[in-house]
């Protein structure tokens, strides 16, 4: 009876592990790269500072020992302690320039000269230059004035050490850093990948158990899952239980029907042999009733799964009025639907149509000239749908009888007599109710069903 629902479409796209690993790798590469660059940069500065500090003390030593001889120019009174300044072209040099192009140098400079100093300025100037062997040098320069016998003499003192050692140290440091950060980064990515695989293991286990449940190798999901996954497992377990219950109910139902049919069939077989037409008719009627009853039950059973369904009773009643108008065209009965067009009730539209159809058909059957359907709010989150006719109505105390299954109050009118009982059953399934009374407006029967719902803009307050 209900339409087929489309199958779920499930397609795997990408992998969580790969996605997280890629993200981590990207972050680690950027983060560690920046950090590494910063650390190397800092260390370079530190090494340079240390080198400059040593140079400064050498410069101070030279300045302290310098003197000026008007004949030969600047001279160093005491040689420096470091023997490197004596070893030719060692890279450790000093050089003093005096006025008139006079120059004194360390022995290590031999007959070469350092590049001329920058123009005079206050304080110590640090610079990089190439030495006599084109080796990179770190040079400090300072302009000093000393007092000689001929008065104040301006001198420029330069002290140089090779950059090689410093640069080698920086390169070594950089390599070590890169290696360290690479190892750290790879480790991080691997750790994240591991973490994901390990973290997702409960999901994998859940899936394996589901497979087993589906294949019938186990009855229940029973795993101790982490708190993030436990609710999912619980939901799946509930779904399995619900499925099982549904199947069980269906099996029960089919069994009931089959067993209930066996007796009439047995009687039928004998009646056919005996050509007892009266009994055959009776048994066929019994079979018809059985089938009818079980079809209704099956419909009601389907309700359990149709949570969340809602529909507009006004539109359904209008469609029914048109249809019933065709059926009772010859009797000239006028069907009208009034009330809240925007009302919604929380029930499956087929079931509401079924309830209203039965009530309205009854009304058409028993009414004389008109049938009135009214949709109105009934307070407490309920919507009332009243079906009234201008027929005889029910006598006091007859409503109980009318509701009893299979009872018909007026045997002369056609119909199965199940109508009101079906309405009562269905409305009960939705937590609503059916009331029968006398119509104040039309004088006939007033049958009203109350269902959880709301008029436009209102809120549901009905039971869940």
């Amino acid at each position: 009876m209900s339409g087929t629902t489309p199958r779920a479409s499930i397609a795997a796209r990408g992998s969580l592990t790969r996605r997280l690993a890629a993200l981590t790798a990207l972050w680690v590469a950027i983060g560690l790269g920046l950090l590494g660059w910063y650390v190397v940069r800092k260390d370079e500065q530190q090494i340079e500072t240390a080198t400059d500090a040593r140079l400064t003390s050498l410069l101070d030593a030279v300045v302290a020992a310098v003197a000026f001889d008007p004949l030969s120019g600047p001279i160093l009174l005491r040689s420096l302690a470091d023997p490197e300044f004596e070893r030719p072209l060692s890279g450790h040099y000093w050089q003093i320039r005096g006025p008139g192009g006079t120059v004194a140098t360390s022995r290590s400079l031999w007959d070469s000269r350092l590049h001329p100093p920058l123009p005079p300025a206050e304080g110590i100037r640090a610079r990089d230059m190439d030495g006599p062997r084109d080796e990179p040098l770190r040079v400090l320069e300072r302009d000093v004035t000393i007092s000689g016998r001929t008065g104040q003499v301006p001198l420029t003192v330069q002290v140089a050490v090779p950059r090689d050692a410093m640069e080698a140290e920086i390169t070594r440091l950089r390599q070590q850093m890169i290696l360290a950060f690479f190892v750290l980064g790879s480790g991080l990515v691997a750790a994240v990948a591991l973490l994901v695989v390990w973290g997702l293991r409960p999901l994998r286990r859940t899936q394996e158990e589901l497979v087993e449940v589906r294949q019938g190798r186990r009855l229940h999901m029973d795993i101790t899952a982490p708190s993030e996954i436990a609710p999912l497992v619980a939901e799946i377990e509930a779904l399995i239980e619900q499925n099982r219950a549904t199947v069980e109910r269906a099996r029960h139902h089919v069994g009931n029907l089959a067993h209930a049919m066996k007796t009439p069939i047995a009687v039928l077989r004998n009646a056919v042999e005996a050509e007892d037409l009266g009994t055959v008719r009776g048994q066929v009627a019994t079979l018809e009733r059985l089938v009818q009853h079980h079809l209704r039950r099956a419909r009601a059973g389907a309700l359990a799964g149709s949570a969340g369904a809602e529909c507009g009773p006004h539109a359904l009643a209008s469609a029914l009025a048109t249809a019933l108008g065709r059926l009772s065209a010859s009797r000239g009965i006028r069907l009208r639907v009034t009330g809240e067009e925007g009302a919604r009730v929380r029930a499956d539209s087929q079931d509401v149509t079924e309830m209203l159809g039965n009530l309205m058909e009854n009304a058409c059957k028993y009414g004389r000239t008109q049938v009135l359907v009214t949709v109105a709010p009934a307070g407490e989150g309920l919507v009332g749908i009243a079906v009234e006719d201008d027929g005889e109505g029910l006598e006091e105390g007859e409503d109980g009888v009318a509701l009893a299954r299979g009872m018909r109050l007026d045997e002369a009118k056609p119909g199965s007599g199940l109508g009101l009982a079906i309405v009562s059953d269905l409305v009960g399934l939705y937590g609503g109710s059916l009331s029968l009374g006398r119509s104040a407006r039309l004088g006939g029967l007033r049958a009203e069903i109350f269902l959880p719902g709301r008029v436009a803009g209102g809120r549901y307050e009905g039971p869940d």
Binding site: E288, R326, L327, A329, L356, G357
Partner: protein, 221 residues
């Protein structure tokens, strides 16, 4: 009265043909929706019995296409689907009545009679022509209070004239509505039937309108 019965279940189709023929209808059968569409478009039926679950074209589509093409013959839907949702859908697609399986043949016949009567603008089941009374509900004819036994063809011809009382009905029209498609049609038999009816119901009842056919004077209450 000529009927089109559209039913794809062979056993039920056979029963319907037999039961309805015994009740005096000329019955054409269609076993699928396509055949039904074709027959309904080309033959003048007095009513159609239509199953909904049909091969090729389903019953509701057949019905909608007929109505869209202006075919107005009464249609009774005969189906196992008996929820109100389905009834509403069928009726609002243009059906005139709805009967759920399982059903009793007598009820089907009664409903078809009522449909045909209503389609011809006759509201009461009993038609009176002087001392002759025709009860369409029980398909019985009486003359001066005494029951008259008629064959299926005799009844069919008389009922057709009665439902179209007041206007001359041609032999061709009578033939079309009295015989099913695969019946060997012979207009001479019509004259024989009319002669028998006149003998049974009174000579003056059925007039011969020269060149136009037969006519029954309108019923008076």
């Amino acid at each position: 009265m000529r009927l089109l019965v559209v039913e794809d279940t062979a056993a039920l189709a056979g029963q319907l043909r037999q039961g309805l023929s015994e009740s005096g209808f000329a019955v054409d059968m269609a076993l699928d929706g396509e055949e039904a569409l074709h027959l309904g478009d080309t033959e003048p039926y007095d009513a159609v019995v239509l199953d909904l679950g049909l091969p090729r074209v389903d019953g509701l589509t057949v019905l909608r296409r007929w109505r869209a093409a202006g075919r107005a013959m009464p249609v009774l839907i005969l189906t196992a689907r008996d929820s109100w949702t389905e009834k509403v859908e069928g009726l609002n697609a243009g059906a005139d009545d709805y009967l759920a399986k399982p059903f009793a043949m007598a009820e089907l016949v009664a409903r078809l009679n009522a449909l045909i009567r209503r389609a011809n603008g006759v509201s009461k089941p009993e038609l009176v022509f002087g001392e002759v009374r025709l009860d369409t509900a029980t398909r019985s004819v009486s003359r001066a209070g005494a029951h008259v036994r008629l064959t299926a063809l005799e009844y069919g011809l008389f009922a057709y004239l009665a439902l179209h009382a007041g206007r001359p009905v041609s032999k061709t029209e009578l033939t079309e509505h009295l015989y099913s498609q695969d019946f060997d049609r012979d207009s001479n038999t019509l004259e024989v039937i009319v002669a028998r009816l006149r003998r049974k119901l009174g000579e003056g009842l059925i007039e011969t309108v020269r060149g136009q056919g037969y006519r029954l004077q309108p019923a008076s209450a």
